[in-house]
Symmetry: C2
Subunit: 110 residues, 2 copies
DNA sequence: GCGTAATATACCTAGTTAGTTATATGGTAA
DNA sequence: TTACCATATAACTAACTAGGTATATTACGC
């Protein structure tokens, strides 16, 4: 965000943030922290439906957040790079800081 | 994203990413890089409708991405902290890197 | 008080999307 | 070939959302 982004650039950045803006997809990324996984493993790990998992994976892949590798019948997905987790970590830290601030502001009920 | 986030935590993180996943809101944040601004200034700077700007500001504020300060008739908004821009910068860097990679892969047409 | 300016909200419409079920695609094994 | 398995996609519904217009709220000056 160096200032004065073109509409096309804004749209691309927004697309990627939007891909992260869904609990189901964040959960899948969280699961993928443990390493590369086949779709069927993700289905088991998340408890989500097969078609739903597949669709979310397409969205994550289109956003460049996960990498894809085919091997026989199976398709293995993994985190595209460490920035993906960095983004989530920053966002989580923000939330922790704001939770702390809220507690300071409203008290913990002691 | 330290692994095994609760559904409530996932929802809160997703809410914040989703707030960033809209070109109009990214544009507003980009404009706010220049400093605190009243709503009317944002309307002028972005060319968006008044109700629309106001609604997007509520979303950004609910996500903790902008700070709000009232002064008389005016309400001034500003970036909540530098992490907001950091997130965008990381995402932009990702896009630049991937654009570079695409150019290397497909050629620049020289 | 009244009028007016700045912002927020209600309401509506059109477009989008998550989740589902059913089906298609691609690859393997017999 | 046929049967089967893993994944992707199509089609549908319900819920959500961006953007607009109209209205409400809030604070100021008179």
């Amino acid at each position: 965000m160096s200032g004065s982004l073109s509409p096309a650039e804004l749209a691309r950045v927004a697309e990627r943030f939007k891909a992260l803006g869904e609990p189901a997809r964040l959960r899948m990324l969280d699961v993928l922290r443990h390493g590369e996984m086949a779709v069927s493993e993700l289905i088991t790990a998340t408890g989500m439906g097969q078609a739903n998992v597949s669709k979310h994976l397409q969205i994550l892949h289109a956003a460049g957040l996960v990498a894809r590798r085919k091997e026989g019948l199976f398709v293995y997905y993994s985190l595209a790079d460490r920035d993906v987790l960095l983004l989530c970590d920053i966002m989580c830290d923000r939330i922790e800081r704001q939770s702390d601030a809220d507690q300071r502001r409203f008290g913990t009920g002691a």
